[in-house]
């Protein structure tokens, strides 16, 4: 495992927070994914060993929680909320706009490697539907038009200006 020193330091810091090591499984998965972009098999085994667990114990988690990626994604991850309030506000059209803009389907990475587009369930911002998360930033009221604008921003180096969150 080739983790950055900062990541390793954070890992060491988080484990003792819990009276039972196993509790640090999710925090470690997050830290490794933030560092490496996804959770490789090697990472599963490394985390298991770190927490005195069996690899299957971590594998069971990685495959349960959709936020963990088993393979690298695009440079940016676009998550379009598809649940009712967003759908009522047109999120399926928002997704279409992104798909067209990047020429790829759902759960796919665009041919140019710029983005991976996914549907996700309610992001708890239904009042500003439709909402989209690009990496860690929430974008509100993203209709088709706004999606196309965001796509342009993404393609320009540096990506979209962060919209206010919350």
């Amino acid at each position: 495992m080739n983790l950055k020193p900062e990541t390793l330091a954070k890992i060491e810091a988080v484990i003792p927070r819990y009276p039972v090591k196993r509790s640090a499984a999710l925090p470690l998965l997050h830290l490794v994914q933030e560092d490496a972009g996804y959770i490789a098999d090697e990472a599963v085994e490394w985390i298991a060993a770190k927490l005195d667990l069996q690899p299957i114990n971590i594998y069971e988690l990685v495959t349960f929680y959709p936020m963990f990626r088993r393979k690298p994604g695009g440079r940016r991850i676009i998550k379009v909320c598809r649940t009712l309030s967003c759908a009522l506000a047109g999120s399926y059209k928002t997704a279409e706009a992104f798909k067209a803009a990047f020429n790829c389907g759902l759960d796919e990475t665009s041919p140019d490697g710029e983005v991976t587009i996914e549907f996700v369930e309610c992001l708890a911002s239904c009042g500003t539907a439709p909402v989209v998360m690009i990496d860690e930033t929430l974008h509100e009221k993203v209709d088709g038009e706004r999606a196309r604008a965001l796509a342009v921003e993404i393609r320009q180096a540096g990506g979209p200006a962060s919209a206010p969150t919350a």
Binding site: D41, Q54, P55, I56, N57, E60, F64
Partner: protein
Amino acid sequence: MTAPAQTDLVTVVIDGKEIAVPKGTNIIEAASRLGIEIPHYCYHPKLSVVGNCRMCLVEMGMPMIDRGSGKPILDDHGGQKIGWMPRPAIACATAAVPGMQIRTTTELVKQCREGVMEFLLVNHPLDCPICDQAGECRLQEFATDYGRGYSRFIEEKNVKPKRTRLGPRVMLDDERCILCSRCIRFCQEVPKDDVLGFVDRGSYSTLTCYPGKQLENNYSLNTVDICPVGALTSTDFRFKMRVWFLKQTPSIDTESSVGANTFVWAREGKIYRITPRRNDAVNDTWMADSGRELYQQVEAEDRLNACHASGKPVPAPEALQAAVALLKEGKTAIVGSARASLEEQFLLKKVARAAGGAPVHLVAHTGEGDGLLVSADRTPNLRGALLTGLIDTLPPASLEALGAAIDAGEVQTLVVVREDLLAAGLTEAQLERVRIIHLDTHRRPGLERAAVVLAGLTVFEKAGSFVNQQFRVQKFQKAVPGPGGAAEDLFLLATLAAELGGESMPSTPASVWQAMAAEIAAFRGMTFAGIPDDGVVVEAGRLAELPFVEGESLHYKPAAEAAGV
């Protein structure tokens, strides 16, 4: 045996019938004592309770009490009114408490079972005709009882991996798996080999072995036993035989002094598999994979199919005559066996006495214990040899003392029961100096040197008993006939003792037991027929204090540890 104190019992009413059960007993077990079957998949008496299949839903009620006065609320007939819970409860996780009422035959319960059955079948391949679990499948069984008989599901079924090799002995068909998690819990809780788990979620949840690992621990086949459907199958038993053709015979696993209780499954003289037989005091519902392969001895390449005298196959009586002739010359020593049955050991002792008090040697067979059901003592009946007085100390690791006696010219004839003398530490030169009468089931190195070979039977081909590490006498029964040229060990030994000593000898387990009960204090009052299916612990007296090699196993603690030393 002490009966549980009255205060430990609670009375519950199931379908109108009262039953008193120990406090904490769950409703599935309580009902089964009344002969009421509550169908279930995920519950297993020897595993943790997770309540995931929902097949065991029942209606539950409690006697009503007036909150204000604390007095019982009575119904029109003067009985205590029952407050029935609006929702059904799972019987597997419901512990009996005093006054609890359970209904298992109501419309709601029926609907619950039908609902669960329908749900379990919507994504199931329904390939029973080609499934080798047929006949032992709880899904198939309950589908007949609670199934709709037709499908309301017209959508596409989920697709999952089929025919995955989980390990050297176990195959998995994920489409048949009902996600009960019994196999996962078993691996975690019994052999503590956490390799199985579920991946993905919801209806797409899939049982998997961690990629790169295998389900290969020595208990892997127990998962096949407890899988309630045909998802886990044994690579060995697969497709060989439909279970309903097979006859089960109770037997004992001979691989160590644990003496796991088993069933031997056979048809027309051929054994197809060995499975564990429940004994809560010995092996619960488990056994080791290694013990399941032992039936292969029966038809092994090197099986002794005939008795021999002077290197030639002869009928058993002829071989016995040759043996008696040798023994009558005197200077006999005996190598007994902790693999022989209790009855055989008793008769061998008689042979030793008749042969002028021939010294009896035994050799230890030890290995590493696994803490579960394979102990460090790799023989099934060392305690038997002690109880019968065949030996009075723990056997050494090699036959050095015998070797010295041979070197000193004290031994002319050697009776050997089921031992490999070279492996046990005698030298070629020492063997050259003695004439050997060898009773065994399989050829061993140097056997051609034996003057007389007596072909005996494996544990599967005869009846008898062993005394396990707990000093528990356990019976095994004959599952298949032995090879034509072999003879009952008891007959062989009884004949030798009788011919030498001039008095008649018992030669069946029942008759040997009569003699043992008369002669051996620990067996007083016992009969072969009277030994219960789960065995009986006998009083071992000082013998129990010997420094046996075994460490702790599933239901055994070494004497020192048990005493808290």
